[in-house]
Amino acid sequence: MIFTTPKRLNELGVLGINERNSEYIMRLNPRRLYPCVDDKAITKELALEAGMAVPELYSVISHQGEVREFAEVVSELDSFVIKPARGSGGEGILVITARSKRKRDTFRLSSGLLITEAEIAFHISNTVSGQYSLGGTPDKALLEYCVRFDPVFEGVSYQGVPDIRVIVYRGYPMMAMVRLPTQASDGKANLHQGAVGAGVDMSGGETLTGVLGNRIVDEHPDTGALISGLRIPQWDFILQSAARGYEVTGLGYLGVDMVIDRDLGPLILEMNARPGLNIQIANGEGLAKRLARIDAIYDPKATPAERARVARREFAAERQTSIPFDAVEAV
């Protein structure tokens, strides 16, 4: 089957791009709030103010003149990440995982390739001139802590850092997925670039089946490990942090990306005002029903912790909420 029908998608409650844009993003995400999430430097600042855990920021490079200073900043560091403050789709992110023992100015990228200090400086310079920013406007480059990811995902990711995306609607965590880098995605946790997305059961934080491109997969394409059934640690904390993203940014339709550090626990990586729709494929479920449910139970006074609890109660994966056999008999 090459195409399905609009009627069928509607029955499944699938949210389309047009509807997401006009009914949710345009209605709930006022333009003036976009800088909070489009500029990662601002996001980080806001998250820190709210007392949320974020990867430590070593330095911000906002002018060409400062590019050379980066060597000084990282002189004591063996691993760090360089990312554009206003990048999108995971573009322009450089993950440096190690430094050569013999040559101090040579680094190892997450892909295993080597990169020299001069090449990094060129990358930063490009970033600052806006190569990776929306519309090519001048940008800032962030130097930050390189997350050492939790072993829970070790078997199901190829290089790179797997992250957890939670969609938060009007403050309520609504749907989540884990994004697992693959060889094809070049270690990036971006579904569009070939990473595997795995749905997450909201009640317990356990992974469901994965999706690669638009295909449903059970195993990681590179490692062959089973994707489903992994229990994400500190799930409640993750949902609460995501829910707080609403207070921090004010965006009613929000994607919160988090990583789990081996030592520091869940950290907020970035937030997104236009989160993608592939999460529906990863979860095998449309968003429409959950959107309607949140609209029905919306309580403006609920705290993030309460909203996270509601999400765990309301959006459990179907197989766990299926009606027991005897209950069917009773009806």
């Binding site: 399905t4 609009p6 499944l12 389309g16 494929i281």
Partner: protein
Amino acid sequence: MNQRYVYGLAALLAITGFAFFFYKWQILGFPVTKNLQTSVYTIESSVSFESGPGSIKVKLLIPTLTPGYRMLNENSVSRGYGFTVNYGAGGREAQWTIRRADGPQTIYYRISVYPDSYAKQSDTTPPFPPIPVINEPFRTAIDVLVSDVEEQSADTASFTAALLRRLNEASPDPNVELLVANAATPADFVETVTMILATRKIPARAIHGFILQGRQRDAEPVTWLEIHDSERWRYFNPRTGEEKLPDNFFVWWRGNEPLVTVEGGSSVQTNFAVQETHLDAVTIAETKADQKGTSLIDFSLYSLPIRTQAVYSVIIMIPIGAFVMVIMRNLIGIESFGTFMPVLIALAFRETKLLWGILLFILLVALGLSIRFLLERLRLLLVPRLCAVLIVVVMLMTGVSLVSNQLGLETGLSVALFPMVIISMTIERMSVMWEESGPADAIRSGLGSLVIAAIAYMCMGTSWLEHLIFTFPELLLVVLAMVVLLGRYTGYRLVELRRFRALDDT
């Protein structure tokens, strides 16, 4: 609430657009298809006569009310004569006067008309005619005939029809024979009918005109009967009683007055010539709008200088390309570089034509991309790099033009019309995407842009559509309405039906 505003606005825009469109199309007669020609008939009447010794005064009845036709222009050619137009009992009459003239004289009056089914008879209601005083034996004959006919008819129109049938019977009864015996010409016959009708207080008169078709050097006026049924004028064939004007009948004058009177001249001869020409329908429509005093025409694109018109014939199609873009992006979901890049490429295709355009575009982008990858190694900063790509693109364009000129391929020269800045940006974005998301994504977006450009080109290049939009720019309001509606389209895109099909497997 919000939705209602959108629908309201779209409806308002569409209605406004269509209203102007229908007015210009139906009332002013602007053509909806290109190169539509309207027949224009020029009827020339020439009056020749021998001048007498004294002053000369020529009167000619000229068209006043012409149902089915509208006047484009009229003029008179007469050397040395004073010319005036007066209103007489039978309508307008042209009058030429001169104090002295020598030898044979010819005076011309020429009128050009075009068919217009909206040119209705707007004549006034005539008073009831006085009952004529008729001598015996005609009086008795008429009385008998009329009371006979009256029995077979219901109203004025059917009375007239029945009367005409009786008068035209193949073997007329003695009364009819008596009445029509003196009617030598059709005009005389109609005059007799008019008189009979007057005894029943039915206003009637003869109308004289021409059946316009092709070229006639010596057109004979045809006489028809016109009666008023107290609501409107109705036309009858005096020979059959059929109520109908002949096709292409152009009314020249009414009543029984002589067509021409010449005072101070002799041997008067009147001749009519008809000539059919074709004129661009737009010209006619403009004249018509002018006569109606509509200021709409002042805002027509046809009122612009020709050079500017040429520019606008291109510009005015850009919204169509943009509309295609909206459909491709929001209904189909094809990805492209930049929002309007494909539309600008489509504009360039206008000059290069589709096949060459696509080939040249692929050639330029492919060459530009490979050079861009070489530049990548130099680690240039962003703006200098963009500038370098632009320079390379310009040089490539020049190169393509020079090479194709050498090869005698004229189409290659039109590469100069490609928007080079847009192409440079496309190359830059494509190479970034190539690096970041892989060649597959970059090529897919590139092809997407090309497909949209090709479709936009085909829509923008459709000549009937171009004519339609250029003649009726108000239709852009309708396009705007559709874009506004599409802006609120929240349904699925076509590609989503494919993208989410995995969800449908259960």
